[in-house]
């Protein structure tokens, strides 16, 4: 049995097509991340799965049931929102138990499940507090707890970490990964942050303009992108795209990741350093090439390069990607 099946989902607001034929199958226990630039339709797709928006056409099956025409509460899903969306008038316990109480669940079962979730998220001491008395990280944990308590067939996360500061974001990311292992539940997660996508996902779905560009495991997408968009979207700093012809490569564009470029005594590319970023562990060089292109070089460790220095760069052909005029990958 599959956790989620999307078949040819279309969605349009008036004349604007937001989703253009999305098909996807999610296996039980899988962690799927939708990633893409803003406006690519990833949030709309999530809301369509949740039933908050209706699809214009296509069908949605969750846990083998056709839920295309069911209201959100009947779809067996739970959702965690970017803005937490906690009920301000209820305490933590009330927030977590509301869904079950609406479903008419037995009181004993409710309090058991709330206890388990609270323990999992170390919220036990906060059960009687209102959302306004909690910090941002605690609020997001309550929102996650509210989802866990419902024991859904599918968890939906809508950019849950965007409102947290950097340190908390990392901690909560680890927490979500741990919960996924612990619960073994199927999860769909939307983000525009590629670090979250790379670290959390079993499979990443890269979306652009309402269409799926590529689906695959993080490393598969990173090492073997189907097209220029996916290649440029994943990885930080992002891939350099150079005109292929002068380098003797096939296709129109040659893509090389910053970490695959090396400073050499004699290289195929020469240029002037315009900026140096020293991060301690890495050193990033911005180089203006003789052909007027700007490229980023990522060197491991600390290097004494200076601005205005002339450098020669080289790369391994095995780590270069060729793309044709339409941005499609040319595999040799």
């Amino acid at each position: 049995m599959t956790a989620l099946v999307l078949e040819n989902i279309h969605k349009s607001f008036g004349a604007v097509d937001v989703l253009k034929g999305i098909s996807l199958t999610v296996e039980p226990g899988e962690f799927i991340v939708f990633v893409g630039p803003s406006g690519c339709g990833k949030s709309t797709l999530l809301r369509t799965i949740a039933g908050l928006d209706d699809a214009s056409s296509g069908s949605i099956r969750i846990g083998g049931r056709d839920v295309t025409n069911l209201p959100p509460a009947k779809r067996g899903i739970a959702m965690v929102f970017q803005s937490y969306a906690l009920y301000p008038h209820l305490d933590v316990e009330g927030n977590m138990s509301l869904g079950l109480r609406q479903a008419g669940e037995d009181r004993k079962i409710i309090s058991e499940r709330v206890d388990v979730a609270a323990k999992m998220l170390s919220l036990t001491t906060y059960l009687k507090r209102r959302p306004s008395e909690l910090s941002g990280g605690q609020r997001q944990r309550v929102a996650i707890g509210r989802a866990i308590v419902r024991k859904p067939e599918l968890f939906l996360f809508d950019e849950p970490l965007s409102n947290l500061d950097a340190a908390l974001r990392m901690a909560t990311r680890v927490e979500i990964a741990r919960l996924h292992r612990q619960l073994g539940a199927s999860m769909v997660y939307v983000t525009h942050d590629q670090t979250e996508a790379m670290t959390l996902a079993d499979r990443i779905v890269v979306l652009r303009d309402g269409k799926i560009e590529q689906i695959g495991s993080p490393m598969a997408l990173y090492n073997d992108p189907d097209n220029q968009f996916v290649a440029g979207f994943l990885g930080a700093p992002s891939m350099n795209f150079l005109t292929a012809a002068p380098l003797g490569a096939p296709g129109t564009t040659l893509g090389i990741r910053p970490e695959h470029l090396t400073v050499a005594a004699k290289g195929r590319i020469t240029g002037t350093i315009t900026h140096v970023e020293r991060l301690g562990g890495d050193t990033n060089l911005l180089v203006n090439t003789d052909r007027g292109e700007t490229i980023t070089v990522r060197l491991f460790g600390q290097h004494p390069h200076q601005v205005d220095e002339t450098v020669a760069l080289d790369f391994d052909n095995r780590h270069a990607y060729s793309f044709d005029l339409d941005g499609m990958r040319l595999r040799s």
């Binding site: 908050l52 929102f81 803005s83 969306a85 906690l86 869904g99 609406q102 479903a103 306004s132 809508d158």
Partner: protein
Amino acid sequence: MNRARHNPLNSAASHAVLILYTIIALFPVFVILVNSFKTRRAIFSEPLTLPTGDAFSLIGYQTVMKQGDFFLYFQNSVIVTVASLFFILLFGAMAAFALSEYRFRGNMLMGLYLALGIMIPIRIGTVAILQMMVASGLVNTLTALILVYTAQGLPLAVFILSEFMRQVSDDLKNAGRIDGMSEYSIFFKLVLPLVRPSMATVAVFNMIPIWNDLWFPLILASGEKTKTLTLGSQVFIGQFVTDWNAVLSALSLAILPVLVLYTIFSRQLIRGITSGAVK
């Protein structure tokens, strides 16, 4: 920290302006209250002095109490005002929720149509309203007044509330939907508590004109049983002789309930439970 806020000169100046405004605003109320406790002679000879010694008299209040039906008028006014406010807030909030939350054909037109009432005074339709009330047998009932005031208050209520409801987070409403709440419980349990301050604003805006209105009680409900306080007080104002003691006493008493209602609503104005709901 804002430096201007801690500058004593600025602070003194703003307090001076506020105090001056308070004095101007409270002066008429003060004159009415003070003179309601005076003899008729004292009202006219020294209208601004305090009611002390010979000048002190409760004759005005005695006249008002003896007039018998005063408490009935009072009760009528309270019923009409409270019931109208209740319906304005209930239906206004419901319409505002529908307009701000749901996308449907004619949404914009419906909003404009409801806003039209802000620009066209309801009194223009008095004759038609009277005809309708006569036809439906509602003349000389409090229901007639409540209906008219509800209609009068709705446009502004819908306009203000729909603006505020648009600001209630969509995520919160969607979280409710996923938890299986009906649209009604989302409206009553999630949205209404969050727009409570704006409801209080609407209530205060509507309360005073309704309480003070003379026009519709005079036309639609001038019977002895349905007179409101404002209309009832008119018995003391004659064409040739006016019983000023009684008029001032009646007015002083009429201020009280408005003060009480205002205190209730203004507390809501200040209280905000929104913090912590979102973000």
